[in-house]
Symmetry: C2
């Protein structure tokens, strides 16, 4: 097996003891073999001198729409319902196989360059196979699925599907991609209650239990959505999901901005996972989730960027800083500390995926999903006597990430992606984008 | 005179017509000589091919403390009064000539690398001459001054000064540095009402009028401060400043988070300038200034990062994005648009300095304070049919700035600073920081 030695880094391990020290890590195959100071292994295939660099577990974004990366900048400063109905859905309907592929590659390239090693990705209705192909080629770790939507109004024809077709296509993708390459898992991905029939959601609950597979959906992002769910289903969002048997440790809920006490209790008791998306919640004017309160009551909270058109970056450094800053005017300057934020971005994300024994911290035996960050730079100095976690959360940029290792493979080295050609992706992204925008006038309802 | 031609850029001019187009700019000496498409001047000394790059007016940060750059990371997740009294003031008291110089160089280096070409800088009580030396050497445009504080409790001995000493030192610096090199101006800089006697503030008002010089201070940053001012001076902050004759078009007020209607009217009627510092206001839990309301009533609002320990970057891209995002959950998704934010960061800043006829937009005859931003990158793509202002505000990073020109001089080229040595600054910043931290136990009260 291939052996890679990382020497002389400052390790932020994110292990249970919160160990931070200068040392070395030996990777053998996909896993971390040894951690220590001044390691002298017999023979290694490669060595990285990480002097002046911080070694961290890779970031885990638990809510992303790779299919929307091509829509970046297409819906800025719009009202939420206009944003969804007039821009995002028509653009999703316009997607073809090639545009899905390059939208995913564009997003994954950006994510890896910013230190993200795992994602939870919700695609659109069709062509999801091509997103999985991009995921496979890129080397990123992913829990992904096609979106399911068989209900609701003002949806383009091309995005409307029957429950049975939606389930069949999901199962086909599950069978093709789940547990692939040791990196890829399938998640049933009903868009949100508003877009899904009760029949569909019940079947998703059944299949999730049967195959022990995650479910990824949006919930309680904004007040209008909650109102529709209450009107149509006679109860609040999370109560309804629980009623259908979906509220369990395999459920990942994006947003959760507006929860009442009953819903919080369900999430806590059933060990449901919450993906906090501060950038998106601000940009779409959704609100500010009560994350300090969630963390105090031991809810599982992780971080995500959401799609490019509601952010507009897929950047964990931005999400971490926002997650800390936006709580402070409401809950005080010590309400969300740098360490809590970094936990959400790493081990918290691993828990969302149910992979806390495999990723999310630097520990012997875990998968080698690691990043090296170079903060020997003006914007992150001085370094003398400064908490390295504070430097990562409050001062670092995604452009400070130098090296990214996923599943033991070096996928970025000295800021050069090794699994994709950036120039081609830029060119193809614009080409696909032009084609989608050209199709917009023809999208039927 | 030296002639520099910039070819093939996408120009965001920020002029009154909001012109955006692909073209060229000819710089002659300190000023913009010609703007057009396919310029073919006779002879130029240098030419920059800016294909794929956006040419913008340089950013103008209207509230910065360069003397605090060395304190980055020293007061994260602290209560505000602890932050000021236990960390910032003792560290300011510990400063010496060398540490002030490198703190300024570190901050200016970071600022230029992020596209800032002008700053409004408040130093500490002593050694301000060394900050001016750094400003002079760096090539940045600055309105700066020593802080004035002759009043208040729990202040280290070394920061306490008499009104007369404070005024004398300010006038000495004014005479040495004001109108220097066509880039440097002096600003009287009383820290905030809480730190200043009425005698001192009255004299500042007199001198500002006599010499037609700006006054830069903090006001209404947090509720505790406002309460102290009301108790001690018998009126609210801005009312008090107006009462002393300070409220006029030469006054720059940092923060203004908590203004009542009377104060807003004074600021509006007297054409007082407001420096909005969203990052700092979040991190120190101060609150969110009512900027949409200020802009609607034609108040002069610009942007600033404040000091490094309360942010922790000096980065206009971050401040722009924050300025837009934080208003949306409160005032709706269209309440703060990308264009308004970019106006605050450029021409708005120029108005704060009283230099709107010289800088802040790309127009023939204005000083050449320009930046080139390369967005031919994954995190800012696609570019097809996307508003370039939206790309700058919502997608761009400070690390995308390639070239910075101030007063006609290229001070950064291909991300390399031309007026300072980064390696030396990093080394000296840590050396100075270690010395200051070592002195902390000896700081007397």
């Amino acid at each position: 097996m291939r052996r890679l030695l990382i020497k002389n880094a400052q390790l932020i391990t994110m292990n249970k003891q919160d160990d931070i020290f200068h040392g070395d890590v030996l990777i053998e195959g996909e896993r971390i073999k040894e951690i220590g100071t001044n390691l002298q292994p017999d023979a290694v295939d490669a060595e990285i001198d990480a002097r002046h660099q911080i070694l961290l577990p890779g970031f885990i974004h638990t809510h992303i729409h790779l299919c929307q990366t091509l829509f970046r900048g297409q819906g800025d400063d719009w009202e939420l319902m206009d944003w969804l109905k007039k821009r995002i859905w028509p653009l999703e309907a316009a997607h073809d196989e090639e545009s899905i592929y390059y939208s995913a590659m564009l997003g994954i390239g950006e994510l890896i360059k910013g230190g993200t090693t795992s994602i939870v990705d919700m695609e659109t209705v069709h062509h999801t196979d091509f997103a999985f192909q991009a995921i496979q080629k890129s080397g990123i770790r992913a829990l992904a699925g096609k979106v399911m939507m068989d209900h609701g109004e003002e949806v383009p024809k091309l995005l409307r599907e029957t429950a049975s077709a939606s389930l069949q296509e999901s199962m086909d993708l599950y069978e093709k991609w789940h547990d692939k390459d040791g990196r890829i898992q399938y998640a049933f991905s009903p868009r949100f209650v508003v877009s899904c029939s009760e029949e569909l959601l019940k079947e998703v609950a059944f299949l999730s239990e049967k195959y022990q597979v995650c479910v990824h959906t949006h919930a309680s992002e904004n007040k209008g959505e909650i109102q529709i769910v209450e009107q149509e289903r006679g109860m609040r969002n999370i109560v309804y999901l629980d009623h259908l048997g979906l509220a369990n440790e395999r459920l990942i809920l994006a947003h959760c901005v507006w929860l009442d006490e009953e819903e919080k209790k369900i999430i806590r008791d059933r060990k449901v996972k919450v993906s906090h998306c501060p950038g998106s919640n601000l940009k779409l004017a959704s609100g500010i989730a009560e994350v300090p309160d969630m963390l105090k009551s031991d809810m599982y909270v992780s971080l995500g960027a959401d799609g490019a058109p509601c952010n507009n970056n897929l950047d964990m450094f931005q999400e971490m800083k926002l997650a800390a800053l936006i709580q402070k005017p409401i809950n005080g300057p010590t309400s969300m500390k740098a360490k809590q934020v970094l936990q959400m971005a790493t081990i918290g994300g691993a828990k969302a995926l149910g992979l806390e024994h495999e990723i999310g911290s630097i520990e012997v035996g875990k998968k080698a999903d690691l990043i090296l960050v170079d903060l020997h730079k003006l914007h992150a100095f001085p370094s003398y006597d400064i908490d390295p976690i504070s430097r990562i959360v409050y001062s670092a940029y995604s452009s400070d990430v130098e090296t990214v290792i996923i599943n033991g493979e070096v996928v970025m080295e000295n800021r050069r992606l090794k699994t994709m050609d950036e120039a081609i992706i830029l060119k193809e992204a614009n080409k696909s984008s032009k084609r989608l925008i050209g199709k917009l006038p023809t999208i039927a309802y």
